[in-house]
Amino acid sequence: MFPKGTKRKFSDAGEEAVGGGGGDQGPSAASSSSSSAAAARQSLLDMSLIKLQLCHMLVEPNLCRSVLIANTVRQIQEEMTQDGTWQIMTQALAAAQCPADRLVATEVLCRQTDPAAQAGQSPKPFSEAEQDHLRADSRTGEQVFGTFEIKHPAPPPDPALDELFSDVDPSYYDLDTVLTGMQSAPKMGPYDLLESLSSHGPTALSSSSSCRSDLNELDHIMEIIVGS
């Protein structure tokens, strides 16, 4: 269906996962009529996440710009939550047996803000309520203006390696070299995942299930960061 090296759309990934999960249809399945709008929204989300990622690599980013981009991401997340797309994405991840904190970076980034604060009606635009809302989050330490940290997942079963490889576009490596290469602290980023993957060798590939998980994760990270 897709030529090699072409990224799947987020919605496709969601549908696949949902289908595999046994017909647990999300509310957005009916929204095929507005698929172009959804695609536009997705590409905007992807674009925003890249911009934000690049902002984070600077010691002192242009604060106004990064706040406006972060708000845009929040707004998209809010809308995706409303039409169910966001849940599908989360479910897709759950279906792949990913630990919850794998999506943490995006979750925190796209966290909904307190409506009162959003409206900006109060003289002090940052309410305590929102802070509490945050505290409820298990990972309050993660910052909107922090980096996307990628956790090592627990190894899920089931390999389908050839298919997976068809999804990995070599051009993404370059982007991630740029993205991760600029970070000073050694972090486990998508590119590191790729590297550790290549060091496994072909025998490891065919047997190692952790490798599969890496790929799975890589795939997802790419979807978030690069998208369609």
């Binding site: 604060l63 845009t72 707004q75 900006g120 940052f126 945050l134 309050t140």
Partner: protein, 443 residues
């Protein structure tokens, strides 16, 4: 507007060769002083260039007060913050003149972190005939001094000196976006993304934080301050604009910390034009009080608005600067142009407003006649004393002669900074590394 666009003539233009222009030459601010006699520009290289208007000459009546370079000095140098391992750019973000009180001129210039007070003074005499020093300044052997003389002042070639009189540093964690001198002539404010600080012009080691919107947890940050300005007459009133499109008016008499505004100006969002870019395009890039202190003007990405200080719920007037870009917001987001910070200015009588656009275009709006005009600052049609022709951008498919289509606009040529002479119809427009000065036609 009383001055027709086609009668406007180019008085002077200071053009550097495009081919040799460097990043450092890009003009980052431009400002007339309160009499209009001087015009200052700041650039990305940290330099300040001051132009002075020529005295009118009877022998050459067509040379009506052209502006010539008066003084050039390096205001800020690149610095390094060792604690943050961060380079601090030398780029001049804003220049503000102090009203002239004696023969010398004073201006404030700021980069991202440090505000400096500069004194620009003339010297055309030098003392001669000291008893203990010779003409080169070396001390003479006392045994050779046999008689005493009275030192005299001798005329010499005019020299313009710029000296840094005060350096206001270490008060801003974020980037300073604006400074404003108070009408009391003793204090000024410097504003960064999250805070406004009040300074006394004489005291550099202490400033007072009067607005602080920094949340305890930076994760919750959803709004930043984009600009602030003092009221032109009431020394206790100032206004600041935000990235959410609102303006807050604060009264410093109410409390030391002006966290509670006394007026809040915001226009309700039009649901019909709502998009993911609504917030970004409503972010205010500049706020200016009118000279009479009755109105506020704000510039957002697509419009310029005039607010009556007595009406908080909606602007008095809204002018479309380049509405044809509304359909292109996604590309403008992609190439980051949507974050460009356009400034806006009033003319001397508050009847006309001016702001910049892309393709080296700038716009003027007459508030009384509701007429507007698009003009272009370009080298091609800007021979000295040439007349500017109004430009038109066509939106539809059919392009008429002299019109330019939206798709062929050059988004790398943007006019962000302009200034208007406080009394006369003389404007200065900064277009990348060129400064254009236009004025009414000379008869």
């Amino acid at each position: 507007m009383e001055e027709e666009s086609d009668t406007r003539k180019i008085n002077n233009s200071f053009l550097r060769d495009h081919n040799y222009a460097t990043e450092a030459d890009i003009i980052s601010t431009v400002e007339f002083n309160s009499t209009g006699e001087l015009l200052a520009t700041g650039d990305k290289g940290g330099r300040v260039v001051v132009f002075q208007r020529e005295q009118e000459s009877k022998t050459q009546p067509h040379r009506r007060g052209e502006y010539n370079v008066y003084s050039t000095f390096q205001s800020h140098e690149p610095e390094f913050d060792y604690l943050k391992s961060l380079e601090i750019e030398e780029k001049i973000n804003k220049i503000k003149w102090l009203p002239q009180q004696n023969a010398a001129y004073f201006l404030l210039s700021t980069n991202d972190k440090t505000v400096k007070l500069w004194k620009i003074s003339e010297r055309d005499k030098r003392p001669e005939g000291y008893n203990l020093k010779d003409e080169d300044g070396r001390f003479r052997d006392p045994s050779t001094i046999t008689s005493l003389r009275v030192p005299v002042l001798q005329p010499m070639d005019l020299m313009v000196e710029a000296t840094a009189r005060r350096v206001f540093s270490n008060a801003h964690t974020y980037h300073i976006n604006s400074i404003s001198v108070n009408s009391d002539l003793q204090t000024f404010i410097s504003t960064d993304d999250l805070r406004v600080n009040l300074w006394n012009l004489e005291i550099t080691d202490r400033s007072f934080n009067i607005v602080d919107i920094k949340p305890a947890n930076m994760e919750e940050l959803t709004e930043v301050i984009t600009s602030a300005e003092f009221h032109p007459q009431q020394c206790h009133t100032f206004a600041y604009s935000s990235s959410k499109g609102s303006i807050r008016l604060c009264d410093m008499r109410q409390a030391a910390l002006c966290d509670k505004h006394c007026k809040y100006f915001e226009e309700p969002e039009d649901p019909s034009t709502r998009s993911f870019f609504s917030e970004i395009i409503s972010s205010i890039s500049d706020v200016k009080f009118s000279h009479n202190g009755r109105y506020l003007m704000t510039r957002d990405y697509l419009t310029v608005k005039v607010w009556d200080l007595q009406m908080e719920n909606k602007p008095l007037e809204t002018y479309q600067v380049h509405d044809y870009l509304r359909g292109k917001l996604c590309s403008l987001y992609e190439n980051d142009c949507i974050f460009d910070k356009f400034e806006c200015v009033w003319n001397g009588s508050d009847s006309v407003i001016m702001t910049g656009s892309y393709n080296n275009f700038f716009r003027m709006f007459d508030r009384n006649t509701k007429r507007d005009v698009t003009l272009e600052a370009s080298r091609e049609n800007s021979k000295p004393r040439a007349i500017l022709k109004p430009r038109k951008v066509c939106v539809g498919g059919k392009r008429r002669k002299d019109e330019i289509s939206v798709d062929s606009l050059d988004f790398s040529k943007k006019i962000l900074h302009t200034t208007w002479h406080p009394q006369e119809n003389i404007i200065a427009v900064a277009a990348t590394n060129n400064l254009y000065i236009f004025q009414d036609k000379v008869n």
